[in-house]
Amino acid sequence: MPDRTFTLDIVTPEQLVLSEDVASLTVPAVEGYLGVLAGHAPLMAELRQGEIHARRADGTRVAMTIGGGFMDVGHNHVVILADSAETGAG
C-alpha cells in the first residue's frame, strides 16, 4: 500500500523553493525536531536554523537546510516559510 502523502511547499521571500507531494517530513522546530505525516492535526510552529528532511511516496528523500522560519500544517498541506533555504543537508 502506498504511503499517504501531503503537499509540502517551501517558500522564501526570494522564491518558491519546493512544492511537492511527500509522505513524511521532519523539521527543526524551536522546541526540538518535529515529525509530520499525512493527516496531522493543524499546527503552527516556529522553526530554527537546521535541516529539513522529507520522504516522497516512492521512498526517495529530499533534504534542505533552512535559516529559520515558520511552518503551517493545514489540512494535508504544509507550508514552510523559510528565511532562506538551500538544497542539501549541511
Binding site: 511547499d9 517558500v11 522564501t12 521571500p13 522564491q15 516556529e46 493545514g74
Partner: protein, 286 residues
C-alpha cells in the same frame, strides 16, 4: 538660415544623445526583465504568509501585540520609495505627488517622511516636510536585509510612541506600461482577515500563540516592505525604459528635421553660387 557648419554640429550632438538614450533603454530593458522575475518570485511567499496570518487570526481570538496596537493618531510617518536616479520620466514625480497628497490629507498630524532612494530627501525638504532617516535603494538586487533596515527604524518609531501611524508609498508594478503609485498602511499592522466562518479545528501552536505571533508579525512587516521594494525597482526600470525609448524616438525625429534643413541650406548655397557665376558671365558678354 543657420550656417551649414552649425547645422552639422547640431546633428552630431543630437546623434550622440541618441546613442546614450538608446543604450540606457537597453540597459533598463535588461534590468526590467530581472526585476520582473524578482517580483514574480516574491509573490508565493507573500501569498503563503497572508494565508498563515489569516489561519492564525482565525485560530486565536484575542490577538494583542505592540505592532497591532491602534492609538489615537497624533504623529505620522510616511515611507516613500523613490528611485536613486533620475532620467526615468515621471516616475519620481508621480510617487512624490502621491506622498504629498497623503500628507495633505493628514495635515492635522505631525508628519515625518522617511525617504528610500536618493531622489526623495531633497524634494521633501524643498516642500517643507520634516525628513527623518533616509535609506539607499541599492542598484544590485534588493535583499530581505534592505527591507529589514527600514522596518527596524519604523518599528523603533512606532514602538517608542514617536509615531502612531505609518504609511508606505510605493509604485506597484502591473506591467512596464502600467505603474500605479500606491499607498499602504504599514502600522498598526493590518492582518489579512480570515475568510469564511471560524473553523472548529483546534490549532496546535509551538511555541504558544502569543510568542509565535510576536515572532511572526515582524516577519510579516519585513515581507510587506520587501515586496514594495521589489515592485518599486521593477517599476523604476519600466519607467526608465519607456522614457528612454521616447527620448530616442524624439532624437531620431530631430535628426530628420535637421538633415532636411541641412540639405536645404546646402542647395540654397549651390543655387546662389550658380546664380553668381551666370550673372558674372552675362556681365562679361556685356
Amino acid at each position: 538660415m543657420a550656417g551649414l557648419r552649425d547645422i552639422r554640429q547640431r546633428i552630431r550632438i543630437v546623434r550622440n544623445i541618441q546613442k546614450i538614450t538608446s543604450a540606457m533603454q537597453m540597459v533598463a530593458a535588461a534590468r526590467l526583465k530581472r526585476a520582473q522575475d524578482r517580483v514574480g518570485a516574491a509573490r508565493p511567499y507573500a501569498e503563503k504568509m497572508a494565508e498563515v496570518m489569516s489561519n492564525l487570526s482565525r485560530a486565536t481570538t484575542d490577538i494583542s501585540h505592540p505592532l497591532l496596537e491602534t492609538r489615537d493618531p497624533q504623529r505620522l510617518a510616511v515611507v516613500v520609495v523613490t528611485a536613486d536616479r533620475g532620467l526615468c520620466g515621471s516616475y519620481n514625480t508621480n510617487i512624490i505627488r502621491q506622498a504629498v497628497q497623503l500628507l495633505r490629507a493628514h495635515a492635522e498630524l505631525e508628519a515625518v517622511v522617511l525617504p528610500v532612494g536618493n531622489r526623495g530627501p531633497a524634494s521633501f525638504r524643498r516642500l517643507g516636510y520634516t525628513v527623518g532617516a533616509t535609506f539607499p535603494l541599492p542598484s544590485r538586487d534588493v535583499l530581505l536585509s534592505d527591507a529589514q533596515a527600514i522596518t527596524a527604524e519604523v518599528r523603533r518609531l512606532f514602538e517608542s510612541g514617536a509615531v502612531d501611524l505609518v504609511y508606505l508609498v510605493y509604485t506597484r508594478f502591473y506591467s512596464a506600461l502600467r505603474l500605479q503609485p500606491t499607498v499602504q498602511q504599514l502600522l498598526p499592522l493590518q492582518t489579512p482577515q480570515a475568510e469564511g466562518v471560524a473553523t472548529a479545528e483546534e490549532y496546535l501552536f509551538e511555541p504558544e500563540p502569543h510568542r509565535l505571533l510576536a515572532n511572526l508579525l515582524p516577519r510579516y512587516l519585513d515581507m510587506q516592505v520587501f515586496q514594495a521594494l521589489v515592485e518599486s525597482v521593477a517599476s523604476e526600470q519600466g519607467a526608465r525604459m519607456t522614457s528612454m525609448r521616447s527620448a530616442s524616438d524624439n532624437a531620431a525625429e530631430m535628426i530628420d528635421r535637421l538633415t532636411l534643413s541641412f540639405n536645404r541650406a546646402r542647395q540654397a548655397a549651390i543655387t546662389k553660387e550658380i546664380a553668381e557665376i551666370v550673372g558674372g558671365a552675362d556681365a562679361l558678354k556685356g
